[in-house]
């Protein structure tokens, strides 16, 4: 995975895992790879992976089972909230970009609707 060098790596690891969870590669209740496996797969330090996982444990999105590892929560409400948060982050970014291009908030829906009608082959 490519990391940006001006954003803390532990935050980027969290983002990566959140995306895996939301996209369904790591569904509710599944065990996530071991710390060392993640470190090698992502080419990052074990300590950094641990910091990211600790954060996700504190948020409740991951549950540690003693001697077994970390599992994705089965709390559907929390998972939905997490997904909403990821969407909000993207939408905030989009809205800000549009604002910089001179598009006001009340024109966003109109512009997006028009775009979606025009470009139907957009995945």
């Amino acid at each position: 995975m490519e990391f940006k060098d001006n954003i803390p790596i532990y935050l980027q690891i969290e983002q990566y895992l959140y995306q895996q969870i939301v996209q369904g590669q790591l569904p509710a209740g599944t065990k996530i790879p071991s710390v060392r496996r993640l470190a090698v797969d992502l080419t990052v330090n074990v300590n950094t992976v641990q910091r990211a996982l600790q954060q996700m444990n504190a948020n409740g999105i991951l549950i540690t089972k003693r001697g077994e590892g970390n599992f994705v929560t089965e709390d559907e409400a929390l998972l939905a909230k997490t997904k909403q948060h990821l969407l909000d982050v993207e939408l905030q970014h989009f809205t800000e970009q549009m604002r910089q291009l001179g598009v006001k908030r009340d024109h966003l829906v109109e512009i997006l609707t028009h775009y979606l009608e025009e470009y139907t082959d957009d995945r």
Partner: protein, 233 residues
């Protein structure tokens, strides 16, 4: 917890020239730390002082709490350049030498590393490419079971694939309590595996900070490193 490495007020002269001036550095157990600096800043000298190869310095150096030279040497592994071996020496002979000299040498671990690095023990030292030689040095160094690993410019002059292989071997074989201090004059390609960076300039440690703390300010590690040297350019 005892720090893995503690350096206090180290001063080192050679032929009446100051080489290191009031160096202070403490590294916590389990960290991967890069010692960054321009050529001639004192990286290798500091490594040699820690390893006990440079003598007659003033100040205190402790590795895993041990200050006495013999005990300290047993607590650390320094990546050697293998210059003591003739070019016609077979890798198998070098391996036997290491296994005999270091009581903490773990042959099982060497076998795993050898397989991972794809090293052929029937080859002779002189036949190895720079990348393969660098891999051999890492395999020999990490087969020792010590608390501190000193890697002096482990990636210098080697290709991307060898570098990746070496970085992965560090991530795979580094024990939780093992600490790594590696020196380089370039940080880009290793930045994401580092816990901390220590920058050496003009014979002393200028700063020592967690890599993610630099990124929390929106800066890149390499820009931060270059900024420490910027005023000279």
């Amino acid at each position: 917890m005892t720090a893995s490495l503690s350096i206090k007020h180290v001063n080192y002269h050679k032929n009446r020239q100051p080489i290191l001036t009031d160096v202070n550095l403490t590294v916590a157990t389990g960290k991967i730390v890069a010692l960054l600096g321009a050529n001639g800043a004192g990286k290798t000298s500091l490594m040699r002082v820690i390893a006990g190869l440079a003598k007659n310095y003033r100040g205190e150096v402790a590795v895993a709490g041990k200050t006495k030279l013999a005990q300290r040497k047993n607590a650390l592994a320094f990546n050697e350049n293998l210059q003591g071996f003739s070019k016609s020496e077979k890798l198998a002979t070098i391996l036997s030498f290491y296994a005999a000299v270091y009581p903490d040498f773990d042959e099982e671990r060497f076998n795993q590393l050898q397989e991972f690095m794809d090293l052929d023990l029937n080859q002779r030292l002189g036949q190895l490419s720079r990348g393969t030689k660098a891999k051999l040095v890492i395999a020999l160094t990490f087969s020792r079971q010590v608390s501190l690993y000193l890697l002096d410019e482990p990636f210098s002059g080697i290709d991307v694939m060898s570098r990746k292989k070496i970085i992965n071997s560090i991530l795979l074989w580094k024990g939780e309590d093992a600490t790594i201090l590696l020196s380089d004059h370039f940080v880009d390609e290793i930045a994401q595996v580092l816990d901390e960076v220590a920058i050496i300039k003009e014979r002393t440690i200028l700063c020592h900070v967690p890599a993610d703390q630099i990124r929390e300010r929106g800066e890149t590690v390499s820009a931060y490193y270059e900024a420490q040297y910027d005023e000279d350019i």
